[in-house]
Symmetry: C2
Subunit: 187 residues, 2 copies
DNA sequence: GTCTATAGGGCGATAGAC
DNA sequence: GTCTATCGCCCTATAGAC
């Protein structure tokens, strides 16, 4: 057994979500989080760049899956179709964590600073999807626009998912939003 | 003549943009800005909620114009068409300030914290446009999706505008992005 | 206007694993 | 010995409270 309990990062992330949900983001200090996780304040900043970032360490998985989903889309698929396949694939990153996603969404919705960070992650997702589209031959500005539109559908689908009871899957909601988007531009 | 120079807010905003461009956002302290504007630090926070907000005081004008543009769209226009008319109208808020917009865009592009704030303003624009669409009868989720798509086109158009030499107007770039978006979903 | 708590970065010390 | 995780203490600027 080592000198320290293992998985300090995981304990910090869990402690932070709990405290943000219990007493609010602004009312929670980094020291509160560190104490609950059994480490010092300094260790928190070793794992997370700032107090917001602790809620967003899963963003990279979502991005990676979405990029893979775009790459795996059939060669004949158009840009919007491929981008849609990407964000639908990304749903796998969250699908089995409905309760966690819902709690987290509530915390984020209650604080503009956290919304900013979420938007930054969604923008990064959009850029990653756009790059994946360019890799399969989609030129700009079509790649950026298709990616942004697909991410918008993902966001709308995600909101519907956490607003519901979780019986309908996230991917189902996102697919519905994508269909609606096609209808809008086509009609 | 009063006891203080007039337009402290304007001087602060100008001083901030200059300093952020000259020496970087992070290297600039609020005190630097206040000194150049000839006021105290305390006065800065009287006008701006935080160090980022000083770059975004024009956002409300853009939002107001966009909402008016949606409301003024012909009754027969579809959701995406009306949302597009909104963001095209919003271009009037920036059209005659190309140099200012370009400098500001460079500063924002160099700092993730400022990008976050910009994304928050774009999200607010999207919500305002969506609300204007609902006011003219568009149901959800079509209103949210059309608004997000139009704002994405605005952003793409804006980026092309500041990347260019300014001879083509912002509205022209945004209209082109909207056309591309329609083509994407329609094809 | 002054006073203060918190965020967040820099740097070196320490204690184990290997 | 090296490497890595953690701590401790110092510091400044932000931003809110009084």
């Amino acid at each position: 057994m080592g000198r320290w309990e293992p998985d300090a990062q995981g304990r910090l992330a869990r402690a932070a979500l709990e405290l943000y949900a219990e007493q609010g983001y602004e009312q929670t200090t980094v020291q509160d989080i560190a104490e609950r996780a059994g480490v010092t304040e300094r260790t928190f900043f070793r794992y997370f760049a700032d107090k917001r970032e602790v809620l967003f360490d899963g963003a990279h998985t979502l991005e990676r899956l979405a990029v893979a989903g775009v790459a795996a889309a059939p060669p004949g698929a158009g840009p919007l179709e491929a981008a849609g396949a990407g964000v639908v694939r990304g749903c796998d990153a969250l699908a089995d964590r409905f309760q966690h996603a819902r709690t987290r969404a509530g915390v984020v919705a209650a604080n503009p600073g956290l919304q900013e960070r979420e938007l930054l992650k969604m923008a990064a997702l959009g850029r990653a999807v756009a790059a994946a589209l360019r890799d399969r031959g989609t030129p700009e500005p079509a790649a950026a626009l298709a990616a942004e539109a697909a991410v918008a559908a993902f966001r709308v689908g995600f909101e519907a998912w956490v607003a519901g009871d979780g019986r309908r899957g996230l991917d189902d909601h996102v697919r519905a939003a994508l269909a609606e988007l096609r209808a809008l531009a086509g009609g």
